[in-house]
Symmetry: C2
Subunit: 159 residues, 2 copies
DNA sequence: TGACAATGAGTGTTGTAACACTTAATATCG
DNA sequence: CGATATTAAGTGTTACAACACTCATTGTCA
């Protein structure tokens, strides 16, 4: 027998009907994201890094030896943050990343992941993977693909 | 002809394959949420309130004259925040809400929306509705329902 | 070639989020 | 009835987010 699913209205003890289906969808996206991000934040806490910092580490691991400049890092973050400079400052202080100012263009500062930073993301890979499976593993392949497809469609806008 | 949709990988200039479908789905949820929340934040800026504060105002509007205590407000927020007290403090200073300590149980403080707060949420209704339609209106009814259904299923977990 | 725009990084400041901890009032039970 | 737990709200502190602004270096073209 199918388990009765707890709707968002029940979750937030909301008893009024949604004003529109679009609103219901938007709130469901926000709520689901909040739940997933909370789980991620909990997993990162023992390592004393935030989700954004974890995101940066993964971006810089992907960038390899070439590294990336501040603006490129900022552009690849899932959530845009103003003040990438001090985000990187803090990570540099923690010795998770290193920065080198360019020689040909002295405005340019390339940012690299350090061995310490790399060790942390590598160490976290399995754990984060397990969290994703724990939270989304009960959806089958077709459902996950459909979810990705609907969200992609949503983000690509009406134009 | 169908417009080619921009995938998350293209959006974030990521060229590596996802490690799992679950991860791809989780990141798509997070990214979509970030985009929607950014749009909402922009709309709220002229009124000098944050998304969380807007969320509180809607909760308290829904609660009506009875109001809600601090913990109830916190429980109904889309994203959990520690320190609801000072969130409400700030809103009280802005005269958006009012608090009354209970007489029979003097621990209990009920929180109400003020006329000023009510005026702001009411004023915002149409605008927020338009934002939702702008961002999700190009999905048809079946797609939105499926999105809600998949997200609800995701949040309800494997157990 | 020299003024001026464009680009990349960084700073100052304020408010808010996150964490652990405390105080006050009521309920419970030996 | 008094010790103890429970429930509700609040406080102290640190670090981070958000906003507008500045500084330095390079590109461009009249």
């Amino acid at each position: 027998m199918a388990k009765p699913l707890k709707s968002l209205k029940e979750e937030l003890k909301q008893n009024k009907p949604w004003r529109s289906l679009e609103e219901e969808a938007a709130l469901n996206v926000a709520r689901t994201s909040a739940v997933l991000e909370h789980a991620l934040a909990q997993a990162l806490k023992p390592f004393d890094i935030t989700q954004t910092q974890y995101n940066v580490l993964r971006i810089l691991r992907g960038a390899g030896d070439a590294g990336l400049c501040r603006n490129e890092v900022g552009a690849r973050l899932i959530r845009r943050v103003p003040d990438v400079t001090r985000l990187l400052d803090r990570m540099e202080q923690m010795a998770l990343i290193a920065r080198v100012r360019g020689n040909d263009d002295r405005r340019y500062v390339s940012t690299h992941i350090t061995a310490k930073g790399l060790a942390i993301v590598d160490r976290l890979d399995k754990e984060i993977c397990a969290i994703h499976r724990q939270h989304l593993g009960h959806l089958d392949k077709a459902q996950l693909e459909q979810l990705v497809s609907l969200l992609t469609l949503a983000r690509n806008g009406p134009d």
